[in-house]
């Protein structure tokens, strides 16, 4: 909260994703690729297979350039960007895990030098020493993953650290082992599928078939290990606790991510088995490219699931995505949020929007608020702000006082289309009723889902519903209805229509 808020113009989510996704793919490939290179070199040297050695030398050049130039510096870029987007979260991680990061730095230094000398040493070093460098690289790179894994999993499942604050409790948290198994499998998978893609264009048929078959087996082994890791992940007790299950029910994203992951994994397993292991002659660059995309979809699906499951926290149970600490989150409290902001723009509404909402929402663009709020009004928004933490989408409570809630509501209302919904969309009757329900009720009450009120309202008649919508004391966390007469009538008709449809 004590930091300035960066008004980027683009959403924080996409900005982070652009940098993180590419780095994560390359960094995992770097580890699996290292293992592939040394194991393949060992086999090629044992068979005195000069063609294979030449292939591996070319591969190692690409591998060294990709991992050193892009991999290392995109890792630095992630560090830079998290410091800009979530300085409080980054500060918490660095203060808790600085020595883990320092350990990772020593491993990184060894990894970088070993990769450089491995590439330059093909013709200079004896085979034994050259392969030793490869193994040193691999060990350093995998240990580096094992260290970073502690911090990444900590953000999702800090475990006993929340009570003890102890380094080891946070580092070896409940998802540490499952994640490490899964990521190790992903490393092997990405390396296997990448080699498959490259080998598809190998000019010599015999070499191509051998390379393809070997790489296909690598891919399958990696996929199996990753699947085992994900199975362990899903079995972690803490992920079954209410807060996580709640997120999965309230947010569609984790479910969508797992569906993408499962679908891509099935295509990948079938594709690898068929075109790489059983019928390697079928393998082409294009097929390898598709399988590589599937592998990236499997991994991307997992990362997306993990990130979605953590919402609305940046460190689960400790700090929200907007930097607010759990313990400072008392909705309806008297404490001022603005008083806690040393960096101000001079516009209170803008500062409140930045601090409370902007980490996850833009007015237009990423997770846009305008389309959600269009057709509503300042009173509705003010009431909704009081019950943010009750909404279907997991969100932190608004951490300001009543006056600031009104300020933010006014600021937001100025930036939306305040015409009635029937004017904006030209709708009437049930269509308008559904639209009004979605706009004014649907954020907290989903028919047949989250906080469903269908049963409760099924016995209401027109008068009951009219009274309900006019009741100013219904709930502190529920905005009163301020739509016009047309909207009110359409909403009542829509709710009464549920009876005819059956409650669901």
């Amino acid at each position: 909260m004590g930091y300035p808020f960066w008004e980027t113009g683009i959403g924080y989510g996409p900005l982070m994703a652009v940098i993180a996704v590419l780095h994560v793919f390359v960094s995992h490939f770097a580890i699996g690729g290292g293992l592939y290179l040394v194991v393949a070199e060992r086999g090629a040297r044992a068979r005195a297979d000069l063609q294979r050695l030449a292939f591996l030398e070319r591969l190692s050049r690409f591998f060294a350039l990709l991992t050193l130039v892009f991999g290392a510096l995109s890792g630095v870029a992630i560090w830079f960007v998290i410091g800009l987007l979530s300085p409080s979260g980054t500060e918490a991680l660095i203060h808790t895990f600085v020595w883990a990061w320092a350990i990772e730095w020593t491993l990184f230094a060894v990894e970088v030098l070993a990769a450089i000398l491995y590439y330059y040493g093909w013709k200079r070093l004896s085979p034994r020493r050259h392969m030793t460098l490869g193994w040193i690289y691999l060990v350093a790179a995998w240990l580096s993953l094992a260290v970073i894994n502690g911090m990444v999993t900590f953000m999702l499942t800090p475990g006993a650290w929340l009570q003890t604050g102890a380094f080891l409790d946070g580092f070896f948290n409940p998802t540490y082992v499952p994640s490490l198994v899964l990521r190790s499998g992903i490393c092997i998978l990405l390396a296997g599928v990448f080699v498959l893609f490259v080998a598809g264009g190998h000019p010599d048929r015999r070499s191509r078939l051998a390379l393809v078959r070997g790489a296909g087996l690598w891919g399958l082994v990696g996929l199996a290990i990753a699947a085992a890791g994900f199975w362990l992940y899903r079995g972690v007790d803490v992920l079954r606790l209410d807060s996580f299950r709640d997120v999965a029910e309230r947010l569609r994203l984790p479910g969508m991510a797992t569906q993408v992951m499962y679908g891509a994994a099935c295509v990948l397993a079938g594709g690898l088995l068929l075109t790489a292991v059983l019928l390697p002659a079928l393998q082409r660059r294009s097929v390898g490219g598709v399988l590589l995309l599937c592998a990236l979809a499997v991994f991307g699906g997992f990362e997306f699931w993990r990130e979605s499951a953590r919402k609305p926290y940046v460190i689960h149970g400790f700090m929200y995505g907007n930097g607010l600490l759990v313990g400072e989150d008392h909705p309806g409290g008297e404490e001022s949020l603005l008083d806690r902001l040393p960096y101000r723009t001079g516009d209170d509404g803008r500062d409140l929007f930045n601090r409370a909402c902007r980490s996850c929402h833009q007015m237009e663009g990423y997770r846009a608020l305008k389309p959600i709020l269009d057709g509503t009004d300042e009173h509705y928004i003010e009431g909704a702000l009081a019950g943010l933490h009750k909404m279907r989408a997991p969100m932190p409570p608004f951490a300001g006082n009543a006056k600031e809630r009104a300020t933010l509501a006014a600021w937001l209302a100025e930036r939306i289309d305040r015409r009635p919904l029937h004017e904006i969309h030209g709708e009437a009757g049930l269509a308008l009723g559904r639209r009004v329900y979605e706009a004014r009720c649907g954020s907290c009450h989903v028919r047949g889902g989250y906080e469903d009120v269908s049963e409760t309202l099924s016995d209401f008649d027109v008068k009951d519903l009219d009274d309900l919508l006019s009741d100013p004391d219904m709930s502190e966390e529920m905005p009163m209805f301020h739509g016009d007469a047309k909207e009110r009538q359409a909403l009542i008709d829509y709710i009464l229509g549920w009876k005819k449809e059956g409650v669901r």
Partner: protein, 342 residues
């Protein structure tokens, strides 16, 4: 307000002196590598060797640049980590105020790195090498300009708040002549001095390259002296407390050790000269560190941070560091002792 009993993360996991020591040591190493790289590229363009980039010394330098870049990046990670640990409050804020420029650093460094590899690998003649090197130099210049600007701004919290109020979009370029420009010029001159030294050491068996190296080293040191004095003159109100602080000892050590390095270099006592230059750099980095504390007086006091040491994990880090140093030494040994082709 009810506050749950959650862990307090605003504590230092080691005593301040230890973190400062690690920061100063690793930053010195980073500056040394950066000087060899950035100063080396500058020196290569300014040396005007006969044959230009075809000269053997130039070719050796070009081949070494990618590895120097790797060293610069790797050695830059640790000091940034330690400075964020202690001075996060001012460093993150300054970075956010100049967010887009700050985020451009890894991108510029990545492009520079790629260009250095391209220059090293290309077989399409010296013109292509020159183009790649110029692009790399542009990337490195960008990085140096932004680092100086952001870290200068980090030492001026009041200026951060004013700048943010004027523009919260991360497009603030802090360009105060005293706090930033002379600081940057001094850093570039320092890098050029180290680059000149490196150029000379690499070309010590070639009379022309050696002579050029000596000249570059001398010019760099003179430029560093002039810009350093100019920077000191702009300190204003901070000058007196800085002169009364321990930073003056670092500054004196820096100046004396650097001056001693020059005649040793001319006499080809390269190890001693390099050692002296390194000690000088260490003194300057320490003075820089103290100057930051002096500037931040009244705004931020690192000694006020609570300390809760994690000695067990620190010990593991120390063991890892020793193993890593051993592994690095062994890898370099087997590589450089091996015949050039087999």
């Amino acid at each position: 307000m009810i506050v749950l009993a959650l862990p307090d993360v605003h504590v230092l996991p080691a005593p301040l002196w230890l973190i400062t020591l690690l920061h100063v040591l690793t930053l010195t190493l980073h500056f040394a590598a950066m000087g060899c790289l950035f100063g080396g590229v500058l020196a290569l363009f300014l040396a005007r060797l006969p044959g230009g980039l075809e000269h053997p010394n130039a070719r050796r330098l070009v081949k070494l640049f990618p590895t120097l870049m790797a060293a610069t990046v790797t050695l830059g990670v640790a000091p940034l980590l330690f400075v964020q640990l202690v001075y996060g409050e001012v460093v993150y804020s300054a970075a956010i105020v100049s967010g887009w420029f700050w985020l451009g650093i890894p991108i510029a460094a990545m492009l520079a790195y790629a260009c250095l590899y391209a220059a090293s690998f290309t077989k399409r003649g010296v013109r292509r090498v020159r183009v790649w090197l110029l692009l790399a130099l542009a990337g490195l210049l960008y990085v140096s300009l932004v680092y100086s600007s952001v870290f200068a701004l980090a030492e001026h919290p009041a200026a951060q708040k004013d700048a943010y109020a004027a523009d919260p979009t991360g497009l603030v370029w802090y360009a105060d002549v005293g706090a930033w420009l002379f600081r940057w010029l001094h850093m570039v001159a320092g890098a050029f001095t180290v680059g000149g030294f490196f150029f000379g050491v690499l070309g010590r068996k070639d009379d022309v390259a050696w002579a050029k190296g000596k000249a570059l080293f001398g010019v760099g040191m003179a430029a560093a002296f002039v810009t350093g004095i100019a920077y000191l003159m702009t300190l204003g109100d901070v000058m007196k407390p800085f002169m009364q602080s321990a930073g003056i000892h670092g500054l004196m050590l820096g100046i004396l050790a650097s001056v001693v390095a020059a005649p040793l270099f001319v006499k080809r006592r390269l190890f001693l000269s390099g050692l002296s230059l390194g000690v000088g750099l260490l003194g300057m980095v320490y003075a820089r560190q103290v100057l930051r504390d002096v500037r931040l007086q009244g705004h931020f006091d690192p000694t006020a941070l609570a300390v809760d040491p994690q000695w067990g994990v620190f010990a593991l880090f120390a063991v890892c560091l020793i193993i890593a140093l051993g592994a690095v030494a062994w890898m370099l040994r087997i590589y450089f002792r091996a015949p050039t082709a087999s």
